[in-house]
Symmetry: C3
Subunit: 245 residues, 3 copies
């Protein structure tokens, strides 16, 4: 059972974040809020998103699972402005979601969740931890996209670097300790990532979003940030590429 009201922009953000990884997702509905875990078809990136009931204007729910087509939800949300209120109702016997905004009502069939299991999120003990503003990640990715399909992330006691090279072209965004909000990097580490995945993961963040990064040596990167005024939280995990040069 789910009966809730939430600002359109909160759902838009959820779709933006999760839609970079998968098209269809299973939402786990609980009495305190919703969460989801999804892995992309190539098993390279994983997302874990939580949205507490405080993100909603009203929220009544019993534990259940909803199989959601994110494109359909995105299309529906385009009918509303960011601060309009969306009403959500789950009609259990029809397995359909009823969405209402302003004068519009849409009934949407839900997907069968039988084959949609939550992926296991691996427990990683990553030695490097830092917090930086979204604008730096966005700019570093844009610079790397000009020349390469890969991006290397490097962190150490002196700062954080995003680096790409291809033939004789190379580009680097360098953040010194002063450009970084928090830096806990006792040793120097570096890992290489597929640029399209990494750029997808950050494309929903705004310039002033604070992003937590956890890194190791040739290890996955963990990237976390809040949304929905702190009532939503998202964790991305991205597997590294093997350095061939």
């Amino acid at each position: 059972m789910l009966h809730a009201e939430v600002k359109s922009e909160t759902l838009k953000k959820l779709v933006d974040i999760v839609g970079t990884i998968v098209d269809e997702v299973k939402l786990n509905i609980g009495s305190d809020g919703i969460n989801l875990k999804a892995v992309d078809p190539a098993h390279v990136a994983m997302v874990h998103l939580e949205l507490t009931k405080n993100a909603f204007d009203s929220y009544e729910a019993q534990e259940t699972e909803l199989g959601l087509n994110l494109s359909k939800l995105e299309q529906f949300l385009k009918l509303s402005s960011s601060d309009e209120m969306v009403k959500i109702d789950h009609i259990e016997d029809e397995n359909r979601l009823v969405l209402e905004v302003d004068k519009i009502t849409q009934k949407m069939p839900l997907l069968d969740t039988a084959g949609m299991t939550d992926p296991n999120v691996p427990q990683l003990d990553l030695p490097i931890h830092l917090v930086i503003e979204g604008k730096h990640l966005l700019k570093g990715v844009k610079a790397s996209q000009n020349i390469s399909d890969h991006i290397a992330l490097t962190a150490g006691p002196d700062g954080f670097d995003m680096f790409s090279e291809e033939d004789e072209d190379l580009v680097r965004l360098s953040l010194s300790k002063d450009d970084i909000k928090e830096l806990d990097a006792p040793e120097e580490v570096r890992s290489l990532f597929a640029l399209d995945y990494f750029s997808s993961m950050i494309k929903s963040v705004s310039g002033d979003t604070l992003i937590q990064l956890e890194l190791g040596r040739d290890y996955p990167v963990k990237l976390e940030f809040d949304f929905a005024e702190g009532n939503g939280h998202v964790r991305f995990l991205l597997a590294p590429r093997i350095e061939t040069s």
Copy 2:
């Protein structure tokens, strides 16, 4: 003979409205203004447009017919801003139109109107009459486009509905009596229409344009509105689709 001056935006609106139905059109020029009647190639939609001489800054004309290519006129109008004045002259012996705006003069050959007869506009006695703001129609159409190629219009004593369904998806925009400017609907009627045609007919209206709708049971819809500060008037007629389910 035609010798006239008119604001660019008035001609742009005419092209917007008629261009959704046909690419080439015969303008009937009279001493009191111009009018045109056109039907789309599939004979599903019809437009009847009138523009009185008051819509023009200056207007001198004798009865004649002009065969117009709307795309060429649209391209010319893009050279001007909305409130610039366009001079129109018909050079009869060349059968060309001379258009002038600012420092630009364009001579445009006219089409042979011999084979372009005015379609007969059927006289329909439609039982339901209502007036609503353009914004509702625009939103209802946008919602329907997310899921279907068809749209059902329903009106009755309680209000007006735009409804589409496809497989298990369905979407509805519901206007209660209070959302409707005028409602004269003694009985409940419903007709189904091709969504691409219906959306074309309304795509030139702005959110606050008042639109007159006339409806029957499985009957054509008539849609009328003013433009050019009330000096222009347009009537669309759209044939219904047969409900197959």
Copy 3:
């Protein structure tokens, strides 16, 4: 040797101007500034651009040549806003350019300039000279693009015309003496040009840029304007088409 700092917008303008003619160009670096000469692959249009050291915030250079890929430079410049400062360094032993803006550093291999000779700019004694604002050229080109692939430029004691025709369509932008900043046209001349080339040459100018035109009878057109607050100057030369009608 080159070691300089310059506003991003100055480099963006240089790329805009030269990129309409060639993708790769040889920059001649001197102690007083840089210059380049380039001809398009079909040898129809030629550009000669000069940028004095005053256009730079700091400038130290010894005579050298740099082979530049303009698309790569354009991509790099998109990482910066117009008034951000770009640092340029030539690493001679690597034959690479190092570009820095904000926190980003890019190293770009330079092209081998061995086969890139400066084209000879022909000395033309063109009888007609005029100065007009960019907005007129932009509008005349836009009007001509609606109907033709060619544009005729005509100048004489009474003014300046841009004219195109195709079948029975024709369009003309006419500037009288009063619309023209300077007019030195003792005789009436006319030359025909390929519209795509002519539009490329002016597409980087703004509406209020003053443009010098020099014309003859069935002769090339010379088009000159300043940029970078007068510290940059560009000359275009475009060969005429033969009138076939």
